[in-house]
Amino acid sequence: MAHGHSATHPAGGGMPVQRRRALQVLAGLVLAALAAFVWSLTAGALPVGPGDLLGALQGGDGSMEADIIRSLRLPRAVAAFACGGLLALAGALMQVLLRNPLADPYVLGISGGAAVGALGAIVAGATSGWIDGGAFIGALGATLLVFGLARGDGSWTQTRLLLTGVIVAAGCGAAVALMLSLAPEGRVKGMLFWLMGDASGATRPWPALGLLVVGLASVLPFARELNLLARGEITARALGVRVTRLRGLVYGLGSLLTAVAVTTVGSVGFVGLIVPHLVRLAIGNDQRLLLPAATLAGGVLLCAADTAARTVVAPIQLPVGVLTALIGVPVFLFLLARHPR
């Protein structure tokens, strides 16, 4: 870079360059999130002008528009945003924990466990509440199983954790295939939608949003330590990081975030893998900036993708997971080609 030198000397006083840039990036993403929400709340079979949106949200007039926005579109938009954020944050955490750019929230078998739980509930003819419960129990069960097996000898190396996760996920995949082939015809479509990720049934989005805020707030104090962990365990420990405690926090939190996300919208793919990389390619790998930026970007992506999923070929609704992949893959390849590293 020809102008590299000037960037190394922040123009005297005030905030360092990197920190000012961090705030600019985050401000931009907040605006993008607002835009995604406005689009999601106004678009659909019953279009609402942006001007009428505020009135409808306050809900005084009791019109049909207000009812649709408040009871259908708002929960769905919040669920999509929150789960996109949860998955992107969990993906960024897993990539640091495993020091592996290919890691995503599902790499340790969480989505597999959730799928077994949810599909088991669907096969058994359960209602939506029980499907969510089954998914959550399955996700936590897979987490505990992988953790228990991986640290059988008291230590846990990244490779061992990764291999155990992959094997547990493969086992869950087989169980899912078995249930799909044995399930009664009428239930297979619902099972497939769950597997691809679908926000249409998300009527209780607030726990996911709450966890997103709490999760991000509890990991940000450790962001600089995570920078060191990404550089390797020895480096981190030599600089005073309590690696075992930090890994436990990251593993537990990452698993919980993922479990709640898949419980709410199913196992939406690509958000958790691609969003952290997109953000990393754009702004670098400083976790202090990357974690909040990836959280916001994941929320924006899933919120926008879900709106597109229910409007582009309306009245048919697409599974949102298909759209995140269709949007995410070309964007990712474009960014990767633009930044030869």
Binding site: G4, H5, T8, P16, E225, T235, A238, L239, G240
Partner: protein, 260 residues
């Protein structure tokens, strides 16, 4: 030079280090005073890196104790030990990209509070460390675009930015050309002259002879010899430790060891 009444920067008392069930080193007693340069020599698998990590407090000793500036690691407030001793580990692969400046700033971590960002002073320290390793003008480069030798000098710069009192160096000359090998050793020699303690694992016996004040020679079977460099560096001891006969050749005031 003022008199130094501080405790040794590093001491090991009756230290036994094991790998798996095997003792690689038994009952080691060493002290490193400010100004000392201790070079650890030994063949592959003799436990040099394991010992260095034990001295860095990253690994529990089987028996015995390691004292950093007079206190066991556990007695220092958590995180403060990183202000006192720094470790240059053998290079590990990078999986994520970062700039050269970001990498050098890593050394400032122990001095920053939980919510602090690196200050302009931290940045100045990191840039000075980069310059001392011949990396001025590299600050905005991406680390994966550097050569092996440049990465090694960057790792040393990050350690220098940490400004500890005790430097523990695991093969600091790896990937370096001759010019930079000497420059790096001269730099640590100057730091020792200013009162730092330096402990390093080297493979070059002649560079060890030139820069070490003390030498620890490991035989890989639990035994060791520790002492002033000129006492330890003899053809018999080196030949037996490395399992290959060596010959001493006088070159003015210096003795060179060459494989026979």
């Amino acid at each position: 030079m003022k008199m130094d009444v501080r405790p040794p920067v590093l001491a090991a008392e009756q230290l036994t280090v094991h790998v798996g069930r095997r003792d690689v080193l038994r009952e080691l007693n060493i002290t490193v005073q400010p100004g000392d340069t201790l070079v650890i020599l030994g063949r592959n698998g003799a436990g040099k890196t394991t010992l260095l990590h034990t001295l860095a407090g990253l690994r529990d000793a089987a028996r015995g104790v390691v004292l950093l500036s007079g206190q066991p690691y556990a007695a220092w407030p958590r995180g403060h030990e990183a202000c006192l001793r720094g470790l240059l580990a053998q290079s590990q692969p990078d999986f994520f990209s970062a700039t050269v400046l970001e990498t050098a700033l890593v050394g400032r971590h122990p001095y920053l509070g939980r919510w602090d960002w690196e200050s302009p002073e931290d940045e100045a320290i990191a840039l000075a460390a980069l310059a001392s390793m011949g990396l001025e003008g590299f600050a905005e480069r991406q680390v994966p675009t550097l050569s092996g030798g440049e990465r090694q000098r960057l790792a040393i710069a990050a350690l220098l930015a940490q400004r500890p009192r005790l430097y523990l160096l695991d093969e600091p000359l790896a990937h370096l050309d001759l010019h930079h090998q000497v420059a790096v050793l001269d730099h640590f020699g100057a730091l020792a002259a200013e009162g730092a303690g330096v402990v390093m694992v080297l493979h070059d016996i002649n560079l060890a002879a030139r820069y070490a004040s003390h030498v620890l020679l490991l035989d890989g079977a639990g035994g060791h010899v520790f002492g002033a460099a000129h006492d330890v560096l003899t053809t018999e001891r080196l030949s037996s430790a490395f399992g290959h006969p060596l010959r001493a050749v006088a070159d003015g005031a210096q003795t060179l060891f060459i494989p026979a």
